[in-house]
Amino acid sequence: MKLFLTTFVAGLLFGMGLAVSEMVDPGRVTGFLDIAGQWDPTLLLVMGGALTITLPGFYMVLKLPGPWFAERFSLPTKKDLDWRLIAGATLFGIGWGMAGFCPGPALAALVTLSPQVVLFMLAMIAGQLLAMLVEKYTRPL
């Protein structure tokens, strides 16, 4: 119960952050990405604001013997760069630049009930499923 409550509150704060920072607005995001136009630094402040909390916060939390309400920390184990990371990040960046949406803000923007946002979400889920299918047939290399 405590685990679910903390998880819900974390989600709640995350969603509030996306809305307060206006990252739910793809116009804000492309405004930041458009360095040759009238550059909007808002996204930089969002990243900076988040990192000022997560950098010391993660450092302190990861010194604990374990999380409060779970057995252990579930952290990514991969350490090295591989072609999947590079190709994946490249493709994600292209899509992000085209639409101004990344997964979190797109999900948060669903509250507007805009059909366009729903369309984007469905395409995004299709893309994830497609990548899972590709993974199945290309691993292990």
Binding site: F4, T6, T7, F8, A10, G11, L12, F14, G15, M16, G17, L18, V20, S21, E22, V24, D25, T30, L33, G37, T42, L44, M47, G49, A50, I53, F58, L62, P67, F73, L75, P76, K78, L85, I86, G88, A89, T90, I94, G95, W96, M98, A99, G100, F101, C102, P103, A108, A109, T112, Q116, L119, F120, M124, I125, A126, G127, Q128, L129, L130
Partner: protein, 140 residues
């Protein structure tokens, strides 16, 4: 020209950071939205699925709460129709293949001082900037 939102950006960013630290401290999980969403349709146990659903419901509720408080969220779509669908597929495919998005790599991964996450963040920022440049200043 849209005025930069310094206060909202900084405050919202700090809320996102706080949420990520809280999730890690409480459940030991990384607040990477693409991974949390992608984990919904894999072969997972109920416990794995439930925390994901709860977090994502919280996220939508949080955005909804702010929307109610300030009287609606501004969402200016940058593209429509087929290009929007292509962008969605690229975001889904790319974040799955690259193991994360702006939150998982950009906010949490960099905070863990992960080399992979720093590289991913630099790469997707760069390709996104190039994409916007091509759309607005070359093709447009």
């Amino acid at each position: 020209m849209v005025e930069p939102n310094y206060t909202g950006g900084l405050l919202g960013g700090m809320l996102i950071g706080l949420a990520s630290v809280l999730l890690l401290a409480g459940s030991g999980r990384i607040a990477g939205i693409s991974g949390i969403l992608g984990g919904l349709y894999g072969k997972w146990t109920d416990a794995e699925r439930h925390w994901r659903i709860i977090f994502l419901l919280g996220l939508v509720a949080g955005a909804g709460l702010v929307s109610v408080l300030i009287g609606g969220l501004a969402v200016h779509m940058q593209t429509h129709g087929i290009p929007l669908l292509i962008a969605g597929v690229l975001v889904g495919f790319g974040t799955r293949m690259g193991g994360g998005c702006t939150s998982g790599h950009g906010v949490c991964g960099i905070a863990r001082r992960s080399k992979r996450s720093l590289a991913a963040t630099v790469i997707f920022m760069a390709t996104a900037i190039i994409t916007v440049f091509l759309i607005r200043h070359v093709a447009g």
